[in-house]
Amino acid sequence: MSNIIYYVSFIILGIGIYGIVSQKNLFKQLISLSIIDTAVNIFIVALGYVEWGEAPIYSTITPVANFVDPLPQALVLTAIVIGVGILALGSVLLVHINEKYGSLDPDEIRDTREVVE
């Protein structure tokens, strides 16, 4: 089961990388970066997965021996926050680019720059 999640995360990672390499539109590149972030987050959570594991919270009704690893979950929480911050910042930059050049297509932006220069 956990192996399938690894494969899925790497397939999503591949889709993200393909998106960045193949897409010219800057917004699509930003979304591709977000997809890569998501893939890595899924991969990290999968690393802490334990078959039939319990939530790692000590209590009288929770068996102690079969907790899932909580550290990857903590790492992913931080990574998600950072990822959202970068996505928001990237979106702000795109708004500025669109206001300045009237497009998010690199070819059209280049044409506009050449006209201005």
């Binding site: 930003l30 972030d37 991969f43 990290i44 970068i86 910042l89 990237g90 930059l93 500025h96 680019i97």
Partner: protein, 473 residues
């Protein structure tokens, strides 16, 4: 105590949020505070276990003989930048956070913690890169940096999976011949992006040439030095760089292309950006050899490159369309920095190149010396060209002054005086740094002794491990 280097800048950053304009005034005092702490109240061989968790389980901040001199250098650069750059109000807070993050990345002994600091640095870097309406350049950097950050996270998690801890010292016990190269490749991709080694450093020319007095200094000097430290910590101290020849070749190709790129540029900003790529690529190529003398020379080279580019970029930011005829102080600093970059005798750059070439010849390495010499010739070509152009440039400023005098003669009231185009703070700082290059040119031992000590410590893993173990398992 060592946590103050991170906590104090952060406290002042938060304090400056309600009073935005205070941030830029806090910055020099915070940098000064850090330097005073480092010189008088801190010493190498200190470890702080955050929350009293043993290093293997929690975050440990480590001040050793490698991080200590790097911290002094970086905080000195921050102090210089706070005095020389024209900071808009909102940049004060950002640069205070950047100060906390670069100090943090050099102190932390934990991979995930270093990832967090790296991302804080990156986010600030993207914002600073967007200065002067340069959103497109900043976005390019964001895409490259985003991929780099993700790779660093993958590397950090891989370390955790294999060693059961995120602590850097314990990570060195990973011996799986399949896993170590994989981890190193993840980290390496991050460093190739952040240290601007071509082709992954292609974002740099658009970002550095935006004409800001903050962007190239903050990113090209301060962030670069802190990341060279992290590169050294990971690849010279903790892991063995897999296939160092390949990294060396990549860096050498980067040197050639960046120098040719610099030669081809019509604008000074982009030429200096490519020159910066060349400088850092040379450092990466030298560090990848993992040899004491070469490593020491690489740090010397880094010192010269960073200080020289600090001067060149600062003056470029204030130049506009003007030359040096009416501001000879700035011109002298610019020329000194250019000569030092080229490696002219009597400047720090000469010794940087001399030590590096000598160390490379001692290990019978001839490819990198050849490339360094070719790069020096190309550098001499375009930097002398720019110096001549700027020293002999016909200035609008002269016309401005004539206009002002004419207006005064005509009895026009409230005539605006023509001010020096380089602010007093920037003039003092650039001249001071230029003189430093000359002093080091005459007394290279001032820096060489330090770089030799760093190189010996960074290539010896045992003291670092002992320091971590002293904190307890």
């Amino acid at each position: 105590m060592i946590a103050l280097l991170i906590a104090v800048p952060l406290v002042f950053a938060f304090a400056s949020i309600p009073h935005e304009r205070l941030g830029r005034y806090f910055l020099p005092f915070v940098a000064m505070f850090n330097l005073v702490c480092l010189f008088f109240f801190m010493h190498p061989e200190q470890i702080l276990e955050v929350g009293k968790w043993p290093a293997a389980y929690g975050i440990a901040l480590v001040l050793d003989n490698v991080s200590y001199p790097f911290l002094i250098f970086v905080n000195f650069l921050i102090l210089m930048m706070s005095l020389s750059a024209t900071l808009e109000n909102r940049y004060g807070t950002l640069l205070l956070v950047l100060t906390a993050a670069v100090n943090g990345i050099m102190l932390t002994g934990d991979f995930f913690n270093s990832f967090v600091f790296l991302e804080i640095i990156s986010v600030i870097a993207y914002i600073v890169a967007a200065h002067k309406d340069n959103a497109l350049g900043a976005f390019k950097y964001l895409i490259f940096g985003g991929i780099g950050g993700t790779m660093y996270l993958l590397g950090a998690v891989s370390v955790y999976v294999k060693s059961g801890t995120l602590n850097m010292a314990y990570a060195s016990f990973i011996t799986d011949p399949m896993v170590v190269p994989t981890i190193c490749i993840f980290f390496l991709i991050t460093f190739l992006v952040e240290l601007k080694v071509l082709p992954l450093g292609l974002w740099a020319p658009d970002v550095y040439s935006n004409g800001s007095s903050v962007t190239p200094i903050a990113l090209g000097s301060i962030v670069t030095v802190s990341l060279v430290y992290l590169f050294s910590r990971i690849f010279l101290n903790i892991f063995d760089l897999p296939n160092p020849q390949l990294v060396g070749i990549l860096a050498m190709v980067s040197i050639i292309f960046s120098e040719l790129g610099a030669l081809k540029q019509k604008g000074l900003g982009r030429a200096l950006s490519f020159a910066t790529i060349s400088g850092v690529s040379t450092v990466v190529a030298a560090l990848s050899m993992r040899e004491s003398e070469i490593t020491s020379a690489a740090y010397f080279y880094l010192f010269n490159d960073v200080v020289s580019k600090f001067i060149l970029f600062t003056l470029f930011a204030y130049l506009g369309e003007r030359g040096f005829k009416s501001n000879k102080t700035a011109g002298i600093a610019f020329t000194f920095a250019s000569l030092s970059v080229v490696g002219f005798p009597m400047f720090a750059g000469f010794w940087a190149k001399y030590y590096l070439l000598k160390a490379l010849f001692q290990v019978n390495s001839y490819a990198l010396p050849a490339i360094i010499l070719i790069a020096a010739v190309i550098e001499a070509g375009y930097l002398i060209k720019w110096n001549v152009e700027l020293w002999y440039k016909e200035e609008d400023r002269e016309k401005d002054r004539e206009d002002v005098e004419a207006e005064k003669a005509e009895g026009v009231e409230e005539v605006e005086e023509v001010e020096d185009f380089v602010p007093f703070g920037a003039q003092v700082v650039t001249l001071l740094l230029a003189l430093t290059l000359v002093v080091v040119g005459f007394m290279p031992g001032l820096i060489h002794d330090q770089t030799m000590s760093i190189a010996n410590h960074v290539l010896d893993f045992r003291p670092y491990l002992d320091l971590i173990l002293k904190g307890g398992m």
